[in-house]
Amino acid sequence: MIKSIRVIVNGQEHERPVEVRGTLADFLREDLDLTGTHVGCEHGVCGACTVLLDGEPVRACLMLAVQADGHRVETIEGLAPAEGLHPIQEAFWAKHGLQCGYCTPGIIMSATAFLRDDPAPSRGAIREMLAGHLCRCTGYHFIVEAIEAAARALAADNRT
């Protein structure tokens, strides 16, 4: 069964026919070639496919593409300016907050919403947020430091 959807992804509107059984993750990757959203489990546990739906992090594998009709989606590709990196990305780079980079886009998308809501989080709060994302490379240690550093950088940006 095919339905047509209209969705705004990273500020750009797309109107596409989709298979109703297709997930938002598959739509982003296959139909829009936004392959920065990674798929790690297709059952909602690993968090690699996390994107922002109307500004809030959701699992793109736990939503049908057809359900995104009329909504706004942000993916990792929409985060950075054309040149350079977003301050959160910059902090992950500076603090070695990634190794293989597979879980990274999902974590960064969660972190953007998290730091918007809690601009000066405790380490415990960072870990609690991160628990929704599986990373198999880093042991999370440097990711926690990266998010702390990102919080400081974003706060400094807001002051200037």
């Binding site: 990757r29 070695h96 380490r123």
Partner: protein
């Protein structure tokens, strides 16, 4: 060599693309006309395949082809094998070994849940899965082997009838007079330890894309593998093409940990489908397939005994080891012998007697995973050492202190060969110093005092120690070709493949230093068989030493060529040529500064003066690594255990380690963190569980529990540096080490925490239900009830 970059925590060159979502993983590859594959997998642990009917699947709109074994028979050569017994080992240890042939698809028998029975290729993955549901297979269930020890009994059904039994591998080895040592000892302790099946579980599953080019008669395949050349060799054997017609590319790979260093059926089946359909074909493993179809690991049982004097001096160790190999034995000697070679670790033990048996069962095949035999053997050893400490009423740290080797003892030879057949000689390190550094950093004495205070308040805190000495960087080689372009920028090709370890940065640091050019001028190409014809791959903590040494030497040779060309151009003696930051100068003549690009241009025949050589700024080196280098570490875990619920909270985790000289300290630290996290998973959470019918019960991420940031503390690290004399830069391998000790350290800490109840920890993972069972068992033995 000017070490401008070596030893510096430079930011990783590869990170911006990952951070921007611009990495390219196998599943990101999209080719025109591409088809998608899905597999019918055996739901039985062991069954005869009586009939397969594919008509309904073939009729499904969107399905292009359905393949069974019969359809692909011409390509169905046995999958390649690892783990032959090297002559040096065969000369010293009498190993009996059988390696059954594994085919990419079941011919008439399935030997584990998840083994491939048929392949459906369709216009989309979803339709391919629909097609799989329409393939009808008649299975006749056969007897299962769910337990290695039971499978070794004479009355067990035999998986490979011509063998007569299920023992795929057995050997005994050791040294010294163990019998006498046990007779003379003041203390003897014995225990049985079980190390469960747990696995690498990268967040990116495996995947293969293949494209057949009829014009060139050539195959290109993208494969999320750690071993592109090995995959190529398998395809060469199966397809009957010369290697240069088969290009294997590992693009960005989302974690490997050994799981992706295996030869897999899909490596061949997807290329076969691409050749048969004349269309590009993609297969992306889903998580459920990964659980049953990608290699499992660990799964050992140790009956270990130790003998010691009253003062703690260790006299002998005896160990009887069972390895559950799963349905095949493609890794031969590797896991069993690694287990034996690493048993004694940092301890000075004058006599050893080990017997090891590898048994086939009807479960997913076992293969090396980060540590590859070492976490298992260290679990047995460090647990029995703690048992000995209890027997002697001695502090476990003190017992270790009395038995660890120190720098003055090195080089130290164990009287058994290493797995590569060479003498097992620890090259450098100071294990006692490592222990002391760990104890100091963790504040051991203060922790013990605090533990006593907390116990009075009913808080059960425990401290656990574990140490290892790890042979890393196994050879025999990894090569590198270093080539400059006209601008003086370097392309370095190597057979080492990266799965997140930061090769593009660490290797560039080595090359940039040796060449005298900026770091940004170096591009590392790993994981592409077209870039370098021979290679081994990345596993076994081997790439920094093997590939790094080749890159260092090849870069040095290219620099020599540059110096010669610059000397000709600048009319100076080669000895007076300096090359730094991509600029050539004649010593003492700052005005002579010449960009490297000019030197190279001046060597191109179009522009060259007569007598100047060609623009041959290229060198290939295949560094031969004589034997392994020995990395070592002491880990300390601090836990709280709630005797009411069995919940274990890991409060602190500290690692004091030596991995020789360090290319990039922050990358090394990241490797330790990641390894520790996986080891903590093995200690507390992770297990592939089978029932007695060898049915896999852990099918999703809801069942197989990868630790999150909430189950891990910050990881403390202390760095020691004892350079290896076995390679030009003094490096040792670090990839695996972090994962070796956590299960043992945590088990020791949990037992320590529950010492008032008399708990004995004999297996992991220590989930709350297991911990309460241990408390019950202790109470049944007469300990204090919780």
């Amino acid at each position: 060599m000017g070490a401008k970059y070596f030893g510096a925590s430079v930011r990783r060159k590869e990170d911006p693309r990952y951070l921007r979502g611009e990495g390219r993983f196998v599943d990101d590859i999209k080719l025109a006309g591409m088809l998608h594959a899905a597999f019918v997998r055996s739901p039985h642990a062991h069954a005869r395949i009586v009939a397969i009917r594919t008509e309904a699947a073939k009729r499904l709109p969107g399905v292009a082809r359905v393949f069974t074994f019969a359809d692909l028979e011409r390509w169905m050569k046995p999958l390649p094998l690892f783990g032959a017994i090297p002559p040096g080992l065969a000369a010293r240890v009498d190993v009996t070994m059988k390696q059954p042939h594994q085919l990419a698809m079941c011919r008439d028998e399935a030997r584990h849940v998840g083994e491939i029975v048929a392949m459906v290729v369709a216009g989309s993955r979803a339709v391919a899965e629909d097609g799989c549901e329409l393939v009808e297979v008649d299975y006749e269930p056969l007897p299962v082997l769910a337990d290695a020890e039971a499978a070794a009994r004479p009355d067990a059904p035999v998986l490979y009838p011509d063998w007569g039994d299920n023992i795929a591998l057995s050997f005994k080895t050791g040294f010294g007079d163990v019998e006498a040592a046990f007779r003379q000892a003041d203390a003897r302790v014995r225990e049985r330890f079980t190390i469960p099946r747990y696995v690498g579980m990268p967040i990116e599953t495996r995947g293969v894309v293949a494209q057949w080019d009829p014009r060139d008669g050539a195959l290109t395949t993208w494969n999320g593998t750690q071993v592109v050349h090995f995959v190529q060799q398998g395809l060469v054997a199966a397809l009957g093409l010369p290697p240069h017609k088969i290009r294997v590319i590992a693009p960005d790979v989302g974690g490997g940990f050994g799981t992706k260093a295996n030869g897999y059926p899909e490596d061949l089946l997807i290329p076969a489908a691409a050749i048969a359909t004349r269309r590009p074909v993609k297969w992306t493993e889903d998580r459920r397939e990964h659980m049953m179809g990608s290699a499992h690991a660990r799964a050992q049982v140790h009956d270990i005994e130790i003998a010691a004097r009253r003062d703690g001096t260790m006299l002998a160790v005896r160990d009887r080891i069972w390895v559950d190999l799963g349905a095949y034995n493609s890794w031969g000697i590797v896991l069993p012998y690694n287990t034996v070679a690493h048993l004694l670790g940092p301890h000075r033990v004058p006599s050893l007697d080990v017997e090891c048996r590898g048994v086939v069962t009807t479960k997913t095949p076992n293969a090396p995973y980060r540590g590859a035999g070492r976490p298992e053997t260290v679990f047995a050893m460090d647990r029995i050492v703690d048992c000995l400490a209890r027997e002697l009423s001695m502090d476990p740290a003190e017992l270790r202190r009395r038995n660890y080797l120190s720098e003055a003892d090195l080089p130290y030879e164990l009287q058994i060969p290493y797995r590569d057949g060479n003498p097992l000689v620890y090259d450098s390190g100071d294990f006692k110093a490592g222990l002391e550094a760990a104890l100091r950093a963790v504040g051991y004495e203060a922790l013990r005092a605090e533990q006593a205070r907390l116990r009075e308040q009913g808080i059960h805190r425990g401290i656990g120690i574990s140490s290892y000495v790890e042979g890393t960087a196994i050879g025999p080689y990894e090569g590198a070709t270093v080539r400059l372009d006209a601008s003086g920028h370097a392309v370095v090709a190597t057979g080492a493949c990266c799965q997140g370890q930061g090769h593009e940065t660490s290797f560039a640091q080595i090359a940039a230093d040796a060449l005298g050019i900026p770091l940004d001028w170096v591009t590392i190409v790993g994981g592409d068989t077209a870039a370098i014809p021979f290679g081994v791959g990345t596993f076994a903590s081997r790439s920094a030493v093997n590939a790094g040494s080749s890159i260092h030497e090849a870069s040095g040779r290219v620099k020599d060529k540059l110096v010669a060309a610059a000397a000709a151009l600048l009319a100076a003696a080669p000895a007076d040529i300096e090359l730094a930051d991509g600029v050539v100068t004649v010593r003492g003549a700052p005005g002579s500064a010449t960009p490297l690009a000019r030197v190279i241009r001046a060597a191109i025949p179009t522009f060259a003066r007569p007598g100047v050589a060609s623009p041959d700024f290229e060198a290939t080196v295949y560094h031969h690594q004589p034997t392994v280098t020995y990395t070592s570490a002491t880990h300390v875990a601090v836990v709280d255990v709630d005797p009411g619920t069995g919940a274990v909270k890991l409060l602190r985790y500290l690692v004091a380690h030596d991995c020789g000289t360090v290319i990039n300290p922050v990358i090394v630290e990241g490797q330790i963190h990641g390894g520790v996290a996986q080891g903590v998973g093995g200690g507390l959470l992770e297990e592939m569980v089978y029932d007695e019918q060898a049915q896999l019960l852990t099918g999703t991420f809801m069942d197989y529990l990868v630790p999150t940031a909430m189950e891990l503390p910050a990881i403390e690290t202390v760095h020691l540096e004892y350079p290896s004399p076995r390679n030009p830069l003094g490096m040792k391998g670090i990839g695996e080490g972090g994962a070796i000790s956590p299960p043992a350290a945590i088990a020791n800490a949990v037992e320590d925490a529950l010492q008032p109840f008399g708990v004995r920890v004999t297996r992991t993972p220590l989930g709350p239900s297991v911990v309460l069972d241990l408390l019950d068992q202790a109470a049944a033995r007469g300990g204090r009830p919780a």
